[in-house]
C-alpha cells in the first residue's frame, strides 16, 4: 500500500441519482498518491488542521480510475448520520479532506471472476470495469451481477452494458427489486442461484462481493454452501 496522504479537495460536482444516492466529483489540491482499483479513501467534511488529530470521517471506495490522479469520484447513499450530514452540508465548492489509499480489496483478473455488487457497492468495481478491455481474446472472463432497489440506481449500468457488448469477455446481469419499465433489468434480488443460472463455470470463479452487509452475508454463505473455498470469496465489508 502506497504511503497514505491527507489531501484537501474541493467538491466540483454533486450528481444526484435520486433516492438519496449521490456521486461526488472532487478535485484534489495536489496529485493523488498511487492507488489500485478497489481501494478506498477516508473522507471528512469537517475542518481539518493537519497539525492536529484527524476528525470523524467515513470510508468510501474510490470509483475513479487509478490513472486519474487529478480527480476523485466517490458514490454514497444516505444511510446514517454522517452521510445525512454530507447530503445536507456539501455544496459545489465545499472543502473536504481525504486520506488515501487504503484497503486490500484489489481485483486481480488472474482467473475468471464474478463481481457481485449491491447498490453503491458498485463503486468498488467501477475503476476496474472501466479499465477492462472486453475484447481481449485471451483475458479471463468477468461477470458483473449488479442489483439495486430500482433501475435508476443501477449506476453506470448503460456504460457497463455497452462495454460488454464489444466482446465476449465481459457479461453484465442487472437486477432491481422493482424493474418496471426497464427491459434490460431483471426483477428480483441478486442471489447465488442467479449466478449459477447464468454462469456455466460458476464454481471455478473468484467472487468479489461489495454491498450492504446483509447481502454480503447471504451471498458469501450461499457460495460456501455451493462448495466455494474461502480463497474464492473476496469481500469488501464495512461496519
Amino acid at each position: 500500500m502506497a504511503t497514505p496522504r491527507k489531501i484537501r479537495c474541493s467538491v466540483d460536482i454533486i450528481e444526484s441519482h435520486g433516492a438519496h444516492v449521490y456521486t461526488l466529483h472532487l478535485t484534489p489540491e495536489r496529485e493523488l498518491p498511487r492507488f489500485e482499483a478497489g481501494q478506498f479513501l477516508q473522507m471528512t467534511i469537517d475542518a481539518y488542521d493537519p497539525s492536529a488529530f484527524w476528525p470523524e470521517s467515513r470510508a468510501f471506495s474510490i470509483a475513479s480510475h487509478p490513472r486519474e490522479r487529478d480527480r476523485i469520484e466517490i458514490v454514497y447513499s444516505t444511510v446514517g448520520t454522517y452521510t445525512k450530514r454530507m447530503e445536507e452540508e456539501l455544496r459545489v465548492g465545499s472543502e473536504v479532506w481525504v486520506k488515501l489509499p487504503y484497503g486490500e480489496f484489489v481485483i486481480h483478473a488472474d482467473r475468471d471472476l464474478a463481481l457481485i455488487a449491491g447498490g453503491t457497492g458498485i463503486s468498488a468495481f467501477t475503476s476496474f470495469l472501466r479499465d477492462l478491455d472486453p475484447t481481449e481474446a485471451d483475458g479471463h472472463r468477468v461477470h458483473l451481477l449488479y442489483g439495486a432497489r430500482v433501475p435508476a440506481l443501477l449506476l453506470h449500468a448503460e456504460e457497463f452494458q455497452a462495454k460488454a457488448a464489444l466482446g465476449d469477455r465481459m457479461t453484465v446481469d442487472l437486477m432491481a427489486e422493482s424493474a418496471e419499465g426497464a427491459p434490460a433489468v431483471t426483477q428480483g434480488r441478486i442471489s447465488v442461484d442467479r449466478i449459477w443460472e447464468r454462469l456455466a463455470n460458476a464454481a471455478e470463479r473468484v467472487f468479489y462481493l461489495s454491498g450492504p452487509p446483509p447481502m454480503i452475508a447471504a451471498i458469501s454463505q450461499g457460495l460456501r454452501d455451493r462448495g466455494c473455498a474461502d480463497e474464492q470469496i473476496r469481500i469488501d465489508a464495512w461496519e
Partner: protein, 441 residues
Amino acid sequence: MASNQERETQLRREILDKVAEYAELKFAPTAFSPGRDLVHYAGRVFDADEVTAGVDSVLDFYLTANRFSEEFEADFADTVGVSDAYLVNSGSSANLVAVTALTSPKLGDRRLEPGDEVLTVAAGFPTTVAPLLQNQLVPVFIDVGLGDYTALPDRIEEAIGPRTRAIMMAHTMGNAFDLDAVMSAVNRHNLWLIEDNCDALGTTYRGKWTGTFGHLATSSFYPAHHITMGEGGCVMTRDEELGRIVRSVRDWGRDCYCAGGENNTCGKRFSQQFGTLPFGFDHKYIYSHIGYNLKTTDIQAAIGCAQLRKLSGFVDARKRNFQRLHRALEPYQDRLILPHATEHSDPSWFGFVITVREDAGFTRADLVKHLEVRRVETRALFAGNLLRHPAYIDIPHRVVGDLKNSDLITTGTFFIGVYPGLDESQLDYMIESFHEFMKRG
C-alpha cells in the same frame, strides 16, 4: 479583534521567523582555521530551514508520527522510486525490520526460517549482519574487492547453497555492488534481496537508483549520512504485501494500519476474525507479528523533510568533493589504493576510502596519525572483517573462499570525508596534508 485561530497563526509565524533569525546567527558559517579546526569526516549540513521545521513540529506537539512523517514517507518514496517507504528510528532498525519482515508467516513457504542462509560480506557495518543473527539466520560471508569494497561478483554463485534463501549486502560507502551479478543470482535461485542502502542515498546503477532493485531496501538518516534527522532510517519496497508486513513489524507487530491517534481506518475494527480470538476483537490490538516499536517522532520527520529538499545538492557536492580528492591523490597510487566506482555505478559517495598498500613503506597507522594530528578526521572502514570482533567470533556462519581482502581492510584501510559540509579551504587543507606526508618519503 483577532480570533484565537488568527492569533495562533500570527504567533506561530512570529516564532518561526525568530527561530530562523536565531539559527542564521547561531549557525552562521565561520572561516576555517587550518590545523585548529577539525576537518570532520561527516556531519549535519543544515541551515535555518531544518531548525524552523523542527520547531514547527514542536509547536504542533503531536509528537508521534503525523503530517511531517506522512510527507516524508511519501516524498522519500517518490524521490527514490519505490511505492512504500516506512520511517524507523535508525538505519540499523531499518535492517532489523527488513530482515524480520522476511520471516513473516504471511509469506507462507517463502518466509525465511531459522537456519536459512543469507549471503553477505564480512567487511562492513555490523548491523547489516546482526539482524540475520537476531532472526536465527546463518550469514554466508564472501570477500570484497579492494578499491570498490563491494562483494566479489565471481564468488556469489559459488556461495549459494541448498539453504541459501536471501542476499543482504550494503552498497558500501555509496558504491553500488554488482547488481547485474546479484540480480542474476536472485532470479536464478529465487532469492530475496535486501539492499542495505544506508551509505548510498542517491547512487544510481545503470541509471536507476539503488534501493529500487531489491525486494526491500534500507536507508539511514544518522548525522553522518546523506540526509539526517538525528536518529532515523527508512525501509523501502515496491511490494505492497511486504510493505504491510514492514509496517506491522515496525508498529509492535499489530495487524491494524491506523496511524497513531486514528481509529477504524479500515472500517472493520470490530468485525473480523483473527486466530482464536472472539469475533470482533478490537483490530487495533490484534498482533500478526512478533514486532517492535521502532517509529520516529514527527519532529525528526520535520527535519528530514527539510533535508530531503536539499538531497540533490548534497549528492552533487559529495560527487564533486570525491573527484577533487581523487584527482589530487592520483600521484600516490603506487602507495595508496584509491577508491573507484563499480561498473555501471554512479556513486553518491559516503566517504573517500583509501587502502595503504602493503609495500607502501608506511602503514595505515602512520598516515592516519599524521592526518589526525593535523586535525583531519579519519574513520576505519567500519568493522573491517567482522568475524574478528569479540561478538562475532563464535557466530554460526559459513565462509566461501577466503576473506583476504577483508583482513587487509582491517589492517590497511580508512576513509576521509566528502560530505557537503566541506568547503574549498578544508579540501585544500586535506590535500595539503597528504602532500606533506608523502613528501617525507
